[in-house]
Symmetry: C2
Subunit: 286 residues, 2 copies
């Protein structure tokens, strides 16, 4: 068997089976043959973010299905400290796209889900009984709510992909939490952790399976041991440049991009004031 060409690598889908997907993800490596035939694993492994959407509307019941999947995820102590705002109105999506620095896919996708870390519900339940909810004022509860929102959203992503839809997370909702809150009429103690575009991918735009760091870099056994070896990072820099070449993107080593992205507060696209923005949204973060 000849090795797949790089082009074939980035274009693999769940139907190509796990072996090829593993090769695309790691540019290397293999998994036990016993896993072939597991549709859910193949779906997970075939994930890519989609940034080109058809205008086609979503079938009736899609939103409810995504929310069912989201609510089926674990939630810390069953507190359910997340909510989601489903935005389909073009004018409202346009405001969110502007917050996100003009990301066109927010305008294209028929649905933008904005996932909230939402402590307002517990606050209102406590207030209705005349009870204190001072525990909500700690960093711990903001962490719980952020994790809850992320677990819920990821289940919605998997559900969407199982329905043939594509998605992309929009972290840039954090560029301007106050404007997002005003646009979505959010109560105090709720903030938009990220958005998620949902829609049918434009077939002509082939988005590849993006390589990741070697599993040995992120997986530690028993104890952490040492951080990434320079050789691992160098190999990944090469793999990412191969991928960028396949995708017609500018080639740049991952480590160059990553280090630039965290060089200083100014590199954070306005998110260097997130602490203050959350304080203003009612999160004390003690």
């Amino acid at each position: 068997m000849t090795a797949p060409t790089p082009e074939a690598l980035s274009a693999v889908t769940a139907r190509d089976g796990l072996e090829k997907l593993v090769r695309a993800r790691y540019r290397n490596g293999a998994l036990p043959a016993a896993l072939q035939g597991n549709e859910t694993l193949a779906l997970l492994a075939a994930h890519r973010s989609v940034r080109a959407y058809k205008p086609d509307p979503l079938p009736e019941g899609t939103l409810e299905t995504l929310v069912l999947a989201a609510q089926s995820a674990a939630t810390s102590s069953n507190l359910q400290t997340w909510s989601v705002v489903a935005v389909a109105d073009p004018a409202r999506k346009a405001v969110l796209a502007e917050v996100a620095g003009g990301q066109k896919h927010i305008l294209q996708a028929p649905l933008m889900l904005v996932w909230l870390a939402d402590l307002s519900r517990l606050k209102s339940v406590a207030t209705a009984r005349g009870q204190s909810a001072e525990g909500l004022d700690y960093l711990e509860m903001a962490t719980v709510a952020i994790v809850d929102a992320a677990l819920a959203a990821q289940n919605a992503v998997i559900a969407a992909e199982s329905l043939g839809l594509g998605t992309v997370y929009i972290g840039a909702m954090r560029n301007d939490p106050a404007r997002v809150a005003a646009t979505l009429n959010l109560p105090s103690m709720a903030f938009a952790v990220f958005g998620l575009c949902v829609g049918y991918p434009v077939e002509e735009v082939v988005t590849g399976v993006k390589p990741r760091l070697a599993p040995s870099v992120v997986l530690h056994r028993e104890t952490y041991g040492q951080s990434a070896e320079p050789a691992d990072i160098a190999r990944y820099d090469e793999a990412m440049q191969d991928f960028q070449g396949e995708q017609g993107m500018r080639r740049q080593p991952w480590s160059d991009q990553a280090v630039a992205r965290v060089a200083d507060g100014k590199a954070l696209s306005g998110r260097d004031v997130l602490m203050q923005a959350l304080n203003e949204r009612g999160f004390r973060l003690r």
Copy 2:
């Protein structure tokens, strides 16, 4: 068709199909028939946390499969700011169980995955080049890392369930971040967001599909509008007590439990000092 008894409700599995799963999750409601036959959706909807494990070891390659699934999740700007420590050593699991207030399932499960928000890798890549990574000192980058870890972990959960395994998240790793860090030899700028037990469920222990708040409570359309109606909360309090009865647990309204859980800093199981603990782990959280 007669309505399923409450017992049948909580014991539904992915094989029972989505209609029954929706009923178990919401005690109410229906989804389009078109979704029947989607194995991935049924798997998502059938999720329950498992707290009783058989000692059976995991098949060869399981850990690698879970990590592949985790690495296939989206990660903010491809920064991959998470890592995972796989703990199988009984003595080490015993320490983690102690941190978690003696949760026995940590001892039972053959594998405990500890998911890290990990900014140490980017720090070391920058340092190796003599470059600054001051952007890591902001709340924004800690948020990115927490979200990255959660998305990765949730993919691992879905992968595990697709392999017939059960899981339960262990938020109590945050009870004592310093002790967890010492036990796992974590570098500065890495902290354990949560653990995840992985293993084969004890079949005799039937864990039910836990009801959640009505979808109308967590899903908002276009704008947030108002918070939960007292009637919605009252209905959910009833549903949870029905579930507790089916599971042989003490009946207590959800709203009573939830409000008690966030009453004040003391209710947070030691996590009221999370801000200080993260500062000590090298997260400045500006």
